[in-house]
């Protein structure tokens, strides 16, 4: 209850999202006793009363010793966060409905080791050596496609005695890309034929894939088609080219899914088709009302297409 209240209060002057590396300065670290801390305080009070009641010097000593331990442990809690550098790592995009893992890189520039640093209460970094970095992955649930801002993140610690809890809010200027959710029972993408879902500029031979020659490797080409036996003048491997790949490929177009009701359903189906094509190493292009992606294949192309689908008519960043 106290914690929630303190959280609300401290989150009030939370800054807008901050780009790059953020250093935890002392003026952005909050600290409040935990429930254990409150009980500890109560116990100290009872000890003080009995020390007074029995006029017992050693009891006074014990009470004061524990009291100053409480104070020092509070400083240690604070120091356990102080000066840490936070930065967002690059997180893997996910499909809507999946849990994204937001990577946070924590760097400890100081000489002290840091212990038990929590991110959003459920992810823990048990130890961070002096002058070292480590990464915490915070699970973020996604529901919709688009750019997702992970929202404010609480970096907290209760080290060393769990009597006090120090925390800092941080809203990273980072967006996770959430692809549309692929349609589960989508009809297979038609690899041949003009009608229906896909369009081809040229018919290709059947799956038998006729080898036509070699060309230089370019980023995004599927590794499975590299030939390591032949190398070009720069000593890089060449790419085997098959007949189907030199044709201009399959176009997955917005119009072809116009029979589906709403935008999300259409995107969902296109997404599924993109994945299907990618799984078959089939070059494909994507034509959306506002965007045209030339047919190609490979992971970079896949990401480009899926991102285009993710952001279609969705300019704004959503908050968690």
């Amino acid at each position: 209850m106290l914690q929630q209240f303190a959280d609300r209060l401290s989150a009030r002057n939370l800054k807008a999202s901050e780009p790059g590396t953020v250093r935890l300065h002392r003026h952005r670290i909050y600290i409040v006793p935990t429930l254990h801390g409150l009980y500890f305080g109560l116990a100290l009070f009872v000890m003080l009363l009995s020390a007074i009641n029995y006029s017992n010097s050693l009891a006074f000593m014990l009470t004061f010793l524990l009291g100053s331990m409480f104070i020092l442990s509070m400083i240690k809690t604070h120091h356990n966060l102080l000066g840490l550098n936070l930065r967002c790592g690059i997180s893997q995009p996910v499909f809507a409905g999946q849990t994204a893992l937001l990577k946070i890189n924590i760097h400890n520039p100081g000489k002290r080791e840091r212990y038990d640093i929590f991110a959003n209460d459920d992810t823990i970094l048990p130890i961070l050596e002096a002058n070292a970095s480590d990464t915490i992955q915070i699970p973020v649930t996604t529901t919709r496609r688009g750019h997702l801002s992970p929202g404010r993140i609480r970096i907290a610690t209760r080290y060393p005695l769990n009597l006090t809890r120090a925390w800092s809010w941080w809203q990273p200027d980072y967006t996770l890309t959430v692809y549309p959710k692929p349609e589960t029972n989508a009809p297979p993408v038609k690899l041949r034929g003009q009608s229906g879902t896909g369009e081809r500029t040229r018919t290709t031979p059947a799956q038998g894939d006729e080898f036509v020659g070699l060309r230089n490797y370019a980023a995004g080409d599927p590794l499975s088609r590299l030939t390591w036996r032949r190398q070009n003048a720069e000593g890089l491997p060449c790419l085997k080219q098959f007949h189907e790949q030199i044709d201009s490929g399959l176009w997955l177009s917005w119009d072809s899914v116009s029979n589906l009701g709403n935008i999300e359903q259409r995107l969902s189906r296109l997404c599924q088709w993109v994945l299907e094509c990618d799984a078959r190493h089939e070059p494909y292009g994507l034509s959306l009302p506002n965007q045209l992606i030339e047919p190609a294949s490979g992971s970079a192309h896949l990401h480009q297409c899926l991102t285009a689908l993710a952001l279609f008519q969705m300019p704004r960043v959503q908050k968690v």
């Binding site: 009980y39 000890m47 029995y54 006029s55 010097s57 212990y115």
Partner: protein
């Protein structure tokens, strides 16, 4: 919630057992055995992952334990029963430890267990127990609260925290405003033996009492405090002598209205500590007692009930009593009675005095002078006296405390035909200027004499004043500076061991004087010497000094943190980068000095002329093989510090 690991559990058992160890001497045997049995049982459960006993079994055990404690002590409250109950409950708590929360509860109880040990023993040795116990409990606490912590690290962190806490602890101990306990009284505690003036007096009884520093009562005067030498706090008046000790065989006659007294009235209130007796103490001679008190014909103030808790009462006294003109016959014969046999030399002396000095004034004067001569000594450690104690004292040992002088004085007076009686009580007290009150301790216990003079009534004569006038003027410490109790335990010839024992006793003695009795009074007097006069100042100093220490820690830690890179060249480079950042040129994390220099050349060509060479030199010095660089480290540091920037443009 997180489950408890076996390591934490083993540590918990070990810690609790260590904390419990000193208690073994004063708890009943069955409590210790219960602890051992249950701890072992719980250990087996944890080790072999058996199931914990059911709630029903636990409840049965708890009820049995409570009944057993009540059967042993007759109560659950008070010190002895409370500690036994705490230990048994701690043992039973072990049987339901499942989560971290349970561990914390147990550790809380362990701190209380340490505290309760001090109710039994407050010797200097217990400091070791305090430190060791809180170290172990705190370390176990850390072990249970941190993930991935090794036992070794927990012990280290615990030790560091403990050591760092000690300075603040000392400040709090010294400056935390103390108030006089007890705040409340627990049943059972009142049965504890109380020290104080008793209803009889024998040689050694008051000197023994004088060794106690305990507070008897405190007095607040409404106006000025009377002179120390007039502060006679009247207690039991003793009439009957049996050859060795003085008592009261017949209870004194109570009167509602006391003989009128005259002189300047003194108004004061007394806060009397519990002493489990009926008498109260007041200055000679009380005029106006409170309604629930009575005064006897010999001037004793009595409470209706035993004083078994601290009470406070207001009195008015006047220095001169208007005694009745004649002494009633019954009282007279009682005040002249001495045992038929014994102490022949004293009787002879009395006979001789009554012939030589027919005037009573002269006779008492002679006797007092006799006491004042050598070789009479005033001492807390008088030799033991045999059957004819008065004779032995007066003619052989001649070393005694106030009861010896009072007793022999009254004996001689009676033997020479003058009615006399012994009055016990307290004399003097320590004035506390800070609180503006007088503290009367057991060590101020005193005995004096009263003789009946016709026309004057009972007149106080204090033989101690003759032998040790400073006792009456200034108090016991002035009269007997060497009065500190010395341990007569070991009379061994091994001088090393003897010295050790004496040294330890010295430590304990200092401990007793300075630490154990560090209460409101001692605190006041100590702090007054330091110029701290009241609670506000105490609080200010306490907060200020504690904060100062904490600030000192912060400073040291911060310094350490700043020194994390020890290379002055690197530090100067970092400083330069910070300076550039303030001027709006921020070095990107991935940029080396050369890339940075290139970028500066592009965005701020005006700065490049001064910064470029420095950055190149830095690069060369840091990354080129040693010996090849043209630059000197010190020069470079200077050059980097010299760089001046204008802030205006970006």
């Amino acid at each position: 919630m997180m489950a408890v690991s076996l390591t934490v559990f083993n540590w918990l058992l070990a810690t609790l057992s260590v904390v419990l160890l000193p208690h073994v001497t004063h708890i009943p045997l069955w409590v210790s055995l219960t602890w051992i049995a249950i701890a072992f049982w719980r250990y087996v459960i944890a080790r072999y992952k058996y199931k914990l006993p059911s709630a029903l079994v636990r409840l049965t055990l708890v009820l049995t334990a409570i009944i057993a404690v009540v059967a042993q002590f007759g109560t659950l409250l008070g010190r002895d029963a409370g500690v036994s109950l705490l230990i048994v409950m701690l043992a039973l708590k072990l049987l339901e430890i499942r989560q971290q929360r349970d561990v914390i509860i147990t550790l809380f109880l362990a701190y209380f267990l340490i505290l309760s040990q001090f109710l039994f023993d407050q010797s200097a040795f217990m400091v070791i127990y305090l430190v060791l116990g809180s170290w172990l409990v705190t370390s176990t606490w850390m072990l249970s609260q941190q993930t991935m912590i090794s036992s070794r690290r927990a012990l280290k962190q615990g030790a560091v925290l403990l050591l760092q806490s000690i300075p603040v602890m000392l400040i709090l101990f010294l400056l935390f405003p103390r108030i006089q306990g007890p705040l409340w009284k627990l049943p059972g505690d009142s049965e504890m033996a109380r020290t104080g003036i008793s209803d009889s007096m024998s040689p050694g009884s008051i000197s023994k009492l004088s060794l106690s520093n305990e507070v008897a009562f405190r007095v607040e005067f409404e106006q000025n405090t009377p002179e120390h030498s007039t502060l006679y706090w009247r207690g039991p008046v003793l009439w009957d002598y049996d050859g060795r000790s003085w008592h009261n065989n017949t209870s004194a006659q109570k009167v509602k209205t006391w003989v009128a007294s005259t002189g300047k009235p003194v108004r004061y209130s007394v806060t009397l500590e519990a002493h489990n007796r009926r008498w109260l103490f007041g200055l000679d001679y009380v005029v106006a007692p409170e309604s629930n008190m009575t005064i006897t014909t010999d001037g004793q103030l009595l409470s209706r009930n035993k004083v078994d808790e601290r009470i406070r009462y207001k009195l008015v006294s006047r220095p001169v009593a208007n005694w009745p003109p004649t002494l009633p016959a019954a009282q007279r014969s009682r005040a002249l009675e001495i045992p038929p046999n014994g102490n022949p030399r004293s009787r002879q002396m009395a006979q001789r005095l009554s012939q030589e000095y027919p005037d009573i004034q002269q006779r008492t004067h002679y006797l007092l002078q006799y006491f004042g001569q050598d070789p009479f000594t005033y001492t807390l450690n008088p030799p033991r006296l045999g059957k004819n104690s008065i004779d032995e004292f007066l003619f052989t040992t001649r070393r005694g405390f106030c009861e010896h002088y009072a007793s022999s004085f009254v004996f001689i007076m009676r033997a020479s035909g003058i009615p006399a009686r012994v009055v016990t009580g307290y004399q003097g007290g320590e004035y506390n200027t800070l609180g503006n009150y007088l503290i009367v301790r057991q060590s101020d216990a005193h005995a004096w004499a009263e003789v009946w003079l016709d026309q004057q009534g009972w007149v106080r004569i204090d033989p101690t004043a003759a032998i040790a006038p400073e006792r009456i003027e200034y108090g016991i410490e002035a009269a007997l500076p060497e009065a500190l109790p010395v341990l007569g335990l070991l009379r061994t010839n091994i001088s090393f061991l003897r010295n050790l024992v004496l040294a330890w006793d010295g430590v304990n003695n200092l401990w007793n004087i300075w630490v154990m009795s560090y209460g409101p009074e001692l605190q006041n007097s100590v702090l007054r010497r330091l110029g701290i006069l009241n609670w506000t100042q105490m609080a200010i100093w306490m907060t200020a000094l504690s904060s100062l220490i904490v600030a000192l820690y912060l400073l040291v830690w911060w310094k350490k943190e700043r020194q994390s890179i020890n290379d002055p060249v690197v530090n100067a480079y970092m400083q330069l980068c910070r300076k550039l950042q303030r001027a709006g040129i921020r070095r990107r994390t991935w940029e080396g000095p050369l890339d940075f220099a290139q970028r500066i050349k592009k965005i701020r060509p005006d700065l490049y002329t001064s910064i470029g060479p420095v950055l190149h030199a830095y690069q060369a010095l840091r990354y080129e093989p040693t010996g090849r660089s043209r630059y000197n480290r010190a020069d470079l540091v200077k050059a980097m510090r010299r760089v001046k920037l204008k802030r205006n443009k970006v």
